[in-house]
């Protein structure tokens, strides 16, 4: 039987049909000619004439013209990947399955990709979780958009966000026109007494307008009514949902019941909505009406003030108006208000401070870079796979696969990897966020959760990342040189200049990004370590602390409180193992302290805004010995000081440097000034000088400080500081025993070491440092894996050449040097990029740094050493392996 195909194909040549289409047409026409040929044969024609007759059917001058434009009919998809360009989605499932089979065949590559990408996605998801919590998620307050928080700041004493005094609040409220309404809040600890053991609870005192200003509803019952902050009507309380469920077991009968706080009874009128329990607000147990006395001292800043802007007013307008008001206040009350400015922040600004935003931005940059490193890494692996798959791709193209179809195949594979990484990454992120949540002491982070925003974010990354890393190799391998690629043993990929350049760029980018991440993270770590190592000015090791409240009804006046404090001190001093015990108004460094302005006797009274100032701490007992605070001169308190009405003080070295330069202040006098800037009260004699102790802002130099006897005005909350000669745990039980013997009903905090208190305070900072460290480690691991992968690939592609070199007498070390030399040139270029990038980011974050500069040479040297060591290992191993095989085998492998 004649073969018609050649005759037909020759006539179709001019049409330039796609290969698959042409094959179909040829097949169909050949069958027709066959049938015609057999028809002629069976009609008795000779073979020759039957053949001629059949072929004659093709000979029509119009064949080509008639066939023009017949290409691309709607036809069924071809298994080889031809398919129709109009239905690119049609074989997607097929592509995904094919991709899955291919990946399963190379589990190593798939594993590397999924793990590195999952780590990067998890890092990004964790940072996104914080951003979502702190910035994106709406606050549970109805009037968020119109609400501003008003603080007072004092630039002169670098005091940020201080509370506002009651008289100042009343003045602002009276003078401002921007606000529809204002509210104020102050917090205090109270003792809840009743049928059960006394318990210290956290109370928030608020104006009756507060919940209306915030637009926060009651969960049960009601919130405060107008006028309930007036003394006659103020014995009402609103419970927090958390406290209601934990203390009253969620019993509704608690409404209208009476509870006793500090000996005063309050009727419970409602339970507040649980939605509000975020941040500090979540720590409140109970809400009470704030009774305000206009006669309260102006230097007692206790209120956080909220203003509800009129619909027509703006935050900017309110800021200008507040500026005018604080100018007036500064002129009217120079002694208290000098240098004090009012600061209005939108609610969002006030919940998330500037440094939090900077930290978030830093974290975002770091994880963004980690993601880029991972993507570059994955792209390198994909590129290497694409290169080794060039023959497969060339075969498919020769068989009629369209280019779009091939790209789709590669993208489908990428998508598969991306989604797998996304799923794994989500699990890691969940673990990370939950760990952070449980380790952090800050209640704000209790709201950390995997929510829809986060899921969308992870899904987005899982889809976008594969496009980032899948498209490059896909585009590169979809334009192959068929002739070269189909040849047996063609090593096109390794010799392809384009492939090499892309890989080189990837290595440089990976090393660069990883280095930048390392630099940023090292700077942060160095900052945290520097902050932890700052000498506080006293010995914090072995120091035990405990806070005790002396509340009514048992402790109603100064005498009762002083007697109790002195008695406890005596008991503590006598307790086994205790070497020194002291009472203080607050814990050094950890607690905030009031600021006092004073006049130095014998010196002309300066302008109110130039008055000497110092932070004040009230102490009793063996303070300097308990803290191991160096007494530079003079002494602490003595019983005889009672005779002078406790009008004695000890100052620190910084105060001496500022106000008694080059002389001893012992025996000198000072007097605290009143609101008008004039000395008020008795002269206070300085009896001693102690060394400096830092304030809560440990990154700033020690402020001037004034120590006064606690006996003068015993406070309701007193911190006891105890040092002992025995082990801390034994000492702690002695302390607890002493307190129990004094009064079983005292509201006492946990007895803990000072270091524990510091740890709790700095826990979040430590966790953030841990985040930076882990992100840096992930970036480094991923980048080194990338360098390793590229070197392995390069070496395997050059196996033949290396075999030839070795066979021709090159030494193994020489070949290793050759291979490593090329990799190290790339690493070197990456290092330059990374150093510049890291330095630039370091400059951006200099406000966060402490004890280390953005260009800290130690950090750079350390990071360079780490990257160099990693790079060395990643290139040496594959290079060493290839020279250790027999050159004959290497050559035969081709």
């Amino acid at each position: 039987m004649p073969d018609w195909r050649y005759a037909i194909a020759r006539r179709l040549e001019g049409l330039c049909l796609r290969p698959t289409r042409e094959a179909e047409v040829v097949e169909e026409l050949a069958q027709h000619l066959d049938d015609r040929y057999h028809e002629h044969l069976s009609a008795g024609a000779s073979d020759e004439s039957a053949r001629r007759e059949a072929l004659a059917e093709l000979d029509d001058a119009n064949l080509v013209r008639e066939l023009t434009g017949i290409d691309r009919p709607p036809s069924e998809p071809l298994a080889l990947g031809g398919g129709s360009r109009d239905h690119l989605g049609a074989g997607l499932w097929q592509d995904v399955r094919y991709g899955a089979r291919l990946l399963a065949k190379e589990p190593g590559a798939a594993f590397v990709i999924v793990v590195t990408l999952a780590l990067a996605i998890a890092s990004n998801a964790i940072v996104f979780g914080f951003t979502d919590l702190l910035i994106l998620r709406p606050l549970p307050i109805g009037n968020t958009e119109r609400l501003v928080t008003i603080y007072s700041i004092n630039a002169q004493h670098s005091q940020d966000r201080q509370a506002v005094s009651v008289p100042d609040f009343l003045d602002i409220k009276a003078q401002s026109a921007s606000f529809e309404d204002m509210s104020a809040m102050s917090r205090e600890q109270l003792s809840l007494t009743g049928s059960r053991e006394p318990r210290a609870i956290q109370a928030a005192y608020v104006t009756a307008s507060h919940f209306r200003v915030w637009d926060v509803p009651a969960f049960k019952g009601r919130t405060f009514l107008p006028g309930e902050d007036q003394p006659a009507r103020s014995q009402v309380a609103v419970l927090s949902h958390r406290f209601w469920t934990s203390y009253f077991a969620g019993a509704e009968s608690v409404i209208n019941r009476t509870i006793t706080l500090n000996g005063r009874s309050y009727a419970v009128v409602g339970i507040l909505t649980p939605a509000i329990e975020i941040g500090n607000i979540g720590e409140m147990d109970i809400w009470l009406p704030l009774e305000m006395r206009a006669s309260a001292p102006r230097d007692e800043q206790s209120l956080v003030v909220f203003g509800l802007l009129k619909p027509s007013a703006t935050v900017e307008g309110a800021k200008i108006e507040l500026k005018m008001i604080d100018d007036r206040l500064q002129r009217a009350y120079p002694a208290t208000n000098t240098g004090r400015q009012l600061l209005a922040l939108s609610l969002r600004e006030s919940t998330v401070g500037r440094s939090t935003r900077v930290i978030l931005a830093m974290l975002a940059i770091v994880v963004g870079l980690v993601l880029l490193v991972a993507c570059a890494n994955v792209a390198t692996v994909m590129l290497a796979r694409a290169s080794t798959r060039r023959r497969e791709i060339a075969v498919r193209i020769a068989l009629g696969a369209s280019r779009a179809r091939l790209v789709r195949q590669l993208v489908a594979e990428g998508l598969l990897l991306g989604l797998a990484s996304g799923g794994f990454g989500l699990l890691l992120a969940y673990g990370g966020l939950m760990a952070f949540k449980s380790l952090s002491m800050e209640s704000y982070f209790r709201q950390l959760a995997i929510n829809r925003n986060l899921l969308t974010f992870v899904l987005g990354l899982s889809v976008i990342a594969p496009v980032l890393f899948g498209v490059v190799p896909a585009l590169q391998s979809s334009r192959p040189n068929l002739n070269e690629d189909l040849k047996e043993g063609g090593r096109d990929a390794a010799s392809s200049v384009r492939g090499n350049r892309t890989r080189a760029v990837m290595v440089v980018a990976q090393v660069g990004f990883a280095l930048a991440v390392l630099i940023v993270s090292s700077l942060i770590v160095r900052t945290v370590i520097a902050l932890e190592r700052v000498p506080l000015g006293f010995t914090s090791r072995g120091l035990l602390t405990v806070q005790v409240r002396f509340d009514p009804p048992k402790y109603t006046d100064d005498d009762a409180r002083l007697r109790a404090v002195e008695s406890i001190l005596d008991r503590l001093a006598a307790a086994p193992g205790v070497t020194a015990a002291s009472a203080s108004s607050g814990l050094p460094v950890l607690d905030s302290e009031p600021m006092r302005r004073f006049a130095v006797a014998g010196q002309p009274l300066p302008q109110p805004n130039h008055l000497p100032w110092a932070f004040e701490a009230a102490t009793l007992g063996d303070y300097s010995r308990a803290l191991e605070l160096r007494m530079l001169e003079g002494r602490m308190w003595r019983a005889v000081d009672a005779a002078s009405g406790w009008n004695v003080a000890v100052v620190n070295r910084e105060a001496v440097r500022r106000y008694w330069p080059a002389r001893s202040p012992i025996g000198e006098h000072l007097s605290i000034v009143d609101q008008a800037g004039r000395p008020a009260g008795d002269a206070i004699e300085i009896v001693g000088v102690v060394d400096n102790v830092l304030s809560a802002s440990v990154d700033e130099p020690a402020p001037p400080r004034l120590y006064r006897p606690l006996a003068r005005r015993p406070l309701t909350q007193v911190a006891f500081l105890i040092r002992g000669s025995v082990e801390v745990s034994a000492l702690a039980s002695s302390v607890r025993e002493a307190l129990r013997t004094e009064d079983r009903e005292l509201a006492v905090s946990e007895v803990r070491t000072f270091a524990e208190g510091v740890k709790r305070r700095t826990r979040t900072r430590d966790l953030i440092m841990a985040l930076f460290t882990s992100f840096a480690a992930i970036g480094l691991i991923v980048a080194i894996a990338g360098v390793y992968g590229v070197t392995v690939f390069m070496v395997s592609q050059r196996r033949h050449e290396i075999g030839v070199r070795l066979a021709l007498g090159a030494t193994a070390p020489g070949v290793v040097r050759l291979i490593m030399g090329r990799s190290f040139r790339l690493i070197g270029a990456g290092v330059v990029v990374g150093l510049l990038g890291g330095w630039a980011i370091g400059l951006m974050m200099h406000s966060l740094l402490f004890g280390v500069g953005a260009a800290d040479p130690f950090t750079y040297a350390f990071v360079l050493a780490v990257v160099a060591a990693g790079g060395l290992l990643a290139t040496y191993l594959p290079a060493h392996r290839v020279v250790s095989i027999d050159p004959v085998i290497a050559l035969k492998r081709e």
Binding site: V25, L58, D60, N62, P73, P74, E76
Partner: protein, 110 residues
């Protein structure tokens, strides 16, 4: 043999009509046309297949490779719903045309 132009104009109608009952392959179509027209109409490869491909491209017919046991695969064409509509309207037009011609020329129906 009829005039070339006339054949071309009616060829589409012929093919669509033949595919109305059942799917057929190209050779089948050419034999049927020849047989039913008593040998007056013949389609050669060079004119039949371009016509089939054109009709297919317009979406009036659809070709599919079908394998039957013991035979090599063949491409069968069937009428699409669009093709069925076209066929109905072309039949009407044709009928009117024939009627008009017969009235003008006085040729009576058989």
């Amino acid at each position: 043999m009829l005039d070339r132009e006339l054949k071309k104009g009616s060829a589409e109608l012929l093919i669509l009509s033949l595919l109305e009952d059942q799917p057929r392959h190209g050779y089948d179509l050419s034999k049927l046309i020849e047989a039913r027209s008593g040998g007056v109409l013949t389609f050669r490869v060079a004119s039949l297949y371009p016509l089939l491909y054109r009709l297919e491209k317009r979406g009036w017919i659809l070709g599919r490779w079908i394998e039957k046991a013991g035979q090599r695969r063949r491409r069968y064409y069937r009428l699409t719903p669009v093709g069925a509509n076209v066929l109905a309207s072309q039949r009407d037009t044709w009928r009117e045309f024939v009627l008009a011609i017969s009235r003008v020329t006085g040729v009576e129906h058989a």
